[in-house]
């Protein structure tokens, strides 16, 4: 019998209306429709969500953890992006 590997899909679930879809895991399926059905069986057996997104894993382009320094380094010396950088007297600090 011929070994065939099904493509991998990443599964995202919206647990409740108003919230973002969150990544919950992945699974193999023939196509998007089948991935949706499998996702329902695998990840929603206890009504964990109201909406599912399936995305082919090969369609995801990810940053590399090893690049983290060049990605985030420039942000570390910008404390003025944070509200706590601005010291206000306590009478008006609730802003």
């Amino acid at each position: 019998m011929k070994q065939q590997s099904l493509p991998l899909f990443e599964i995202f679930i919206r647990s409740k209306r108003g919230l973002d879809h969150r990544h919950v895991g992945s699974l193999h399926a023939e196509d998007h429709e089948q991935a949706l059905e499998y996702a329902r069986d695998v990840y929603l057996r206890r009504s964990e969500g109201v909406s599912i997104w399936v995305v082919r894993s090969s369609d995801i382009t990810a940053s590399q953890e090893s690049d983290v320094a060049s990605f985030y380094d420039p942000m570390d010396d910008k404390p003025y992006r944070h509200a706590t950088h601005y010291k206000l007297p306590k009478e008006v600090d609730n802003m």
């Binding site: 919206r14 209306r17 108003g18 003025y80 009478e91 008006v92 802003m95």
Partner: protein, 310 residues
């Protein structure tokens, strides 16, 4: 009433958010789209009065703060355009509608930033007013809009504080500096109050938007909240709110304030504010000036794809 409408109404009644793939009445779609597009355009046009001061900020510290803040506004515009795009419109259509004068942006950005004190005032008053509105909109009934608001409020918390802090430094500085701060407050106070829109009794959209829970609190409620929080802040740094009728009302537990010049508001909205033409012309020019970058990126991508196929 059909079942789609009934299911929509039920979601609204039960405090559920409406998500992009849900059925929604056309009028709801149109209203939320108008509101998000107007909000997005406001973020982007709002970069102009501040951008005017980047090269003239009094210190390097103030300059990097201003750059960071303007960069945030650009990002917030992007969040909102993306949220609007979930309804099937495109960025290009929205920008075109802005250029054609069919889409609006907050009328406050049609006022000029004349002195450095205006930059403090924009942060303290304009962002302060925007935050009052946006905090309320975190609970708006359209899911993508609500999520964009939550993200924006979190990032924007520094905007108002830096503005107040910059104003405080001026108010506690030399007599000239204090006068400059007072002059800026005199010019920005009333337009800031107008940001909340017409009185509830005169607002064309408020009633329906409140029913749909797109708007959670009315213009007048939000405006009063802004006045009540801002007056003590002005007093604390010894600046005077330019309103002879402003006084504390013990019974209401709020400040009473004088009449707003709605003629001015209508005039500025209709296109006749101090900077309307300049703001739009600048946006059109920026769009045109950036065309070669988009063209170059597209040409590069086309070439890359052709190479991949070969």
């Amino acid at each position: 009433m059909d079942s789609l409408q009934a299911s929509f109404d039920e979601k609204i009644a039960n405090e559920q958010r409406i998500e992009p793939k849900d059925w929604m009445p056309d009028a709801f779609r149109k209203t939320v789209l108008r509101q998000m597009s107007q909000h997005a355009h406001s973020e982007v046009i709002g970069m102009q009065p501040e951008g005017n001061w980047i090269t003239r900020a009094p210190t390097l510290h103030r300059k990097v703060i201003l750059l960071a803040k303007i960069q945030d506004e650009g990002g917030h515009g992007l969040y909102l355009y993306s949220a609007a795009e979930t309804l099937g419109t495109s960025r290009e259509e929205m920008v075109q509608a802005l250029h054609d004068g069919k889409a609006k942006y907050a009328s406050i950005f049609n006022y000029p930033a004349l002195t450095w004190a205006d930059i403090g005032m924009i942060g303290w008053l304009v962002d302060g007013a925007a935050i009052v509105n946006q905090v309320s909109l975190q609970r708006t009934s359209y899911g993508p809009y609500s999520r964009a608001m939550i993200r924006i409020c979190k990032e924007e918390s520094f905007h108002q504080r830096q503005g107040y802090e910059a104003t405080m430094v001026l108010a506690r500085g030399s007599a000239e500096q204090k006068a400059m701060a007072q002059d800026a407050l005199d010019r920005w106070w009333w337009p800031a109050l107008m940001m909340f829109g017409p009185h509830d009794t005169d607002s064309a959209h408020t009633g329906q938007s409140m029913k749909w829970k797109l708007k959670r609190e009315s213009n007048d409620v939000l405006r009063q909240r802004f006045v009540d929080q801002t007056v003590p802040q002005a007093e604390f740094i010894g600046l005077k709110i330019p309103d002879p009728e402003l006084r504390w009302n013990e019974d209401r537990g709020s400040y009473d304030f004088g009449p707003i010049d709605w003629d001015e508001f209508m005039r500025v909205i209709a296109g006749d504010g101090p900077c309307n033409r300049q703001r739009l012309a600048h946006h059109v020019r920026a769009q045109q000036d950036g065309q070669w970058v988009r063209d170059a990126m597209h040409a590069y991508e086309t070439k890359r794809q052709a190479r991949e196929v070969a």
